[in-house]
């Protein structure tokens, strides 16, 4: 019941706060709730099927496509920079690189960082793009299942 009350109040409080934020250099989380990986799970395979003598070839790798849909409507006709962020995951070390169809920039990211994927004027309310993720993980530390939670942020100039 208390949670429900928060949910009602939050937008109201946020409206007040948003009005108090300076018009420059603000960072916002982008609504990408309509984004969806094309498969629920990326199956990673050993880059080298056999290990080395020195226990130094334990990379698992795999690929997965994600259709991302960014709701940029709140920042239409403004200029900003969009970042893909990957918070710390706390398990196996992971590196994710991606390619795009050109609407966003390609790049790579490790947990705890964010990487620029767009800079310039916001001219579309809904930006749709397909990211082809290439995922590398430390196979010596990967639990049965690990979740990588990405999100997008926007810095408004």
């Amino acid at each position: 019941m208390r949670m429900a009350l928060w949910c009602v109040l939050a937008p109201v409080m946020l409206t007040i706060v948003t009005g108090a934020v300076p018009a420059t250099a603000a960072t916002f989380v982008v609504d990408d709730g309509a984004s969806a990986p094309q498969e629920s799970t990326a199956l990673l395979r050993w880059r080298r099927f056999a290990p080395s003598r020195a226990n130094d070839s334990n990379t698992l790798e795999g690929a997965l496509a994600v259709v991302v849909r960014l709701n940029l409507a709140p920042w239409m006709h403004r200029s900003g920079r969009v970042f893909l962020a990957l918070p710390e995951q706390g398990t196996a070390s992971v590196r994710v690189s991606w390619t795009t169809q050109g609407r966003l920039l390609s790049g790579s990211i490790t947990p705890g960082n964010r990487v620029l994927v767009y800079a310039g004027p916001i001219t579309t309310a809904l930006l749709e793009e397909t990211l082809t993720l290439q995922i590398e993980a430390d196979g010596s530390r990967l639990p049965n299942m690990q979740r990588l939670k990405f999100h997008f942020e926007i810095d408004i100039d």
């Binding site: 949670m3 928060w6 949910c7 109040l9 939050a10 937008p11 409080m13 946020l14 409206t15 007040i16 706060v17 948003t18 108090a20 934020v21 603000a26 960072t27 916002f28 989380v29 609504d31 990408d32 709730g33 990986p37 799970t41 990326a42 199956l43 990673l44 395979r45 050993w46 080298r48 099927f49 056999a50 290990p51 080395s52 003598r53 226990n55 334990n58 795999g62 994600v66 709701n71 409507a73 709140p74 920042w75 992971v94 993720l133 995922i135 993980a137 196979g139 010596s140 530390r141 990967l142 639990p143 049965n144 299942m145 690990q146 979740r147 990588l148 939670k149 990405f150 999100h151 942020e153």
Partner: protein
């Protein structure tokens, strides 16, 4: 859609942010699950083996080889039971390591034994065991204890301890060595017959089965 400041400009802002995210966080992230398609793999090769696509360091992968190699010695009549150990030889021609193609063993004096153990989680090392019968036996039922057969361990270019060290068959199940997680291990075994007692003439045979077990 409401824009959510990711930073805070004051106490009130922070409070509002927490409240908003608690309700709407699911719409602001996409999740990719990752898991290993083949989290565990083991490979054991005793004698000849098969690797396809080149050696390990060229991206090769191991195959199945059902060959059963023999290790044997013919003891001259004048030498039977003298206590002078008789060097045994193998019909295995596996001298190179599939790791890198290096000539690791010297055939026919040595028998290659090697393998690897893959696992994404740390549950300990894999273990190689050998199961030998109590005796070698000839066609008329005479026997030689398997404990008469022992081996030394080495490898060309190796200076340290061998993963599958020297030993003697026990006529039962015994540990030959271990393979640490996500490692390749290999040795070359040089067998000998202790020859400590006089035995009737004949061809004595017995089969040893090597097994690699992962935790």
């Amino acid at each position: 859609m409401r824009a959510t400041p990711a930073g805070s400009t004051g106490i009130v802002t922070a409070g509002a942010l927490v409240a908003f995210l608690a309700c709407g966080q699911a719409a602001r992230a996409f999740t990719v699950n990752i898991t290993a398609a083949n989290p565990k793999a083991i490979y054991l090769q005793v004698g000849v083996g098969t690797f396809t696509g080149g050696n390990y360091n060229a991206g090769g992968t191991p195959g199945n080889n059902t060959t059963i190699n023999t290790v044997s010695v013919g003891v001259p009549a004048a030498s039977v039971g003298t206590g002078v150990a008789q060097a045994m030889t193998t019909n295995s021609a596996q001298a190179i390591s599939f790791y890198d193609g290096f000539t690791f063993c010297n055939t026919p004096a040595q028998l290659y034994i090697g393998g690897f153990y893959r696992n994404t989680t740390n549950t300990g090392a894999a273990t190689v065991t050998a199961t030998s019968p109590a005796n070698l036996i000839n066609g008329t039922g005479d026997t030689i204890p398997f404990t008469q057969i022992r081996w030394t361990s080495s490898g060309n270019g190796d200076a340290g301890a061998q993963p599958f060290p020297a030993g003697t068959f026990v006529g039962g199940v015994q540990t030959i060595g271990t393979i640490s997680r996500n490692q390749w291990a290999e040795s070359c075994h040089t067998f000998s017959y202790a020859n400590t007692s006089i035995r009737p003439a004949g061809t004595y045979t017995g089969r040893v089965t090597y097994t690699l077990s992962s935790p």
